[in-house]
């Protein structure tokens, strides 16, 4: 629903970078790999947290 605060595997705080990643790589046209490198999200475990995330609040909100 909301981006996880921390990486499930290593505990690094990844939520911090979500909005920038979303704006630049998901909605923008930058290369996700380059954006993650720039944000300092180095490990595979942390990178998959952002790459595989989808915000669902907008989808769930009408049913609350």
């Amino acid at each position: 629903m909301m981006v996880p605060v921390r990486c499930f595997t290593c505990g690094n705080v990844v939520g911090e970078h979500w909005e920038e990643f979303k704006a630049r790589a998901k909605e923008g046209d930058e290369d996700p790999e380059a954006v993650l490198d720039e944000l300092g999200v180095e490990r595979h475990c942390c990178r998959r947290m952002l790459v595989s995330h989808k915000d669902l609040v907008d989808i769930v909100a009408p049913y609350q």
Partner: protein, 253 residues
């Protein structure tokens, strides 16, 4: 009595560092690692009083997310001591970790940009969604709960040496020789990233023997922002020191 350890920094930042320590035993290196993970206390939100939550998430989910936000560590707290933070955000908009207001000026979210919950202003509803909570952060150790771990991905590797023992077979296959960590080459410390973790880039066409340097460990330490790497490591070593002296006192006649 306490020997001096030879410490060399390879990379040094506030939240991430790599350093080499010589003349320590593997057991002591692991002791430091474990102390960094389990023994150095940090503040973390533990109890949340929900005054209003009309968001799409349950109170428990919000509390869980708040608990994971790293908080800066004050320097005069005892284990179990608490401080209070408040969060009051009304939609439409997002409640961020940085919106939390703390009672103690020394305590603030280390990362201010973590979205806690997206608040909407639904059509047909009289008031927008709102989140108002009061949270108690408690000062405790990583062994109590993982959210109190200040160190993230703390580990170490042996320092390694690479010795050239001859030339590779001219007609042999060109296979990469992948190595990660830090190597010592003619007294110089070289992180393997410098040659793309492939020894054949640095020593092309050579037959190599890689060996661990006994009792030399390269630590890689990251923190979640609760404190700097330096504070984490020194506090970890202090807890080991305290426990050793407690043991010494306990077994004394």
């Amino acid at each position: 009595m306490v020997p001096d350890y030879d410490v060399t920094f390879i990379e040094r930042g506030d939240r991430e560092a790599r350093f080499l320590v010589r003349d320590i035993t593997p057991a002591f290196a692991n002791g430091i690692r474990r102390a960094m993970i389990a023994d150095v206390p940090t503040l973390s939100i533990d109890e949340v009083r929900v005054i209003e939550n009309s968001s799409v998430m349950f109170d428990e989910q919000i509390a869980h997310r708040l608990g994971l936000v790293p908080l800066t560590t004050p320097d005069d707290y005892e284990i179990g001591e608490t401080t209070t933070l408040a969060l009051d955000v009304e939609g439409p908009g997002t409640a961020y970790s940085g919106d939390m207001v703390s009672q103690d000026a020394q305590v603030e979210p280390a990362d201010k940009n973590v979205p806690i919950i997206d608040l909407k202003d639904p059509e047909g509803s009289e008031t927008p969604q709102r989140l108002e909570v009061e949270a108690d952060a408690v000062y405790d150790r990583g062994r109590e709960h993982a959210k109190h771990q200040g160190g993230v991905a703390v580990g170490y590797r042996h320092l390694q040496t690479v010795e050239v023992v001859g030339d590779t077979d001219e007609f042999g296959e060109d296979e990469p020789h992948i190595l990660r960590g830090v190597i010592e080459d003619d007294g110089e410390l070289v992180p393997t990233e410098e040659f793309d973790n492939d020894l054949t880039n640095r020593f092309p066409g050579k037959e190599l023997v890689v060996e661990d340097v006994p009792n030399a460990f390269v630590f890689h330490v990251e923190t979640d922002g609760s404190f700097t790497v330096e504070e984490l490591v020194t506090q970890a070593v202090d807890t080991l020191h305290d426990r050793a002296s407690d043991l010494k006192d306990a077994v004394q006649l």
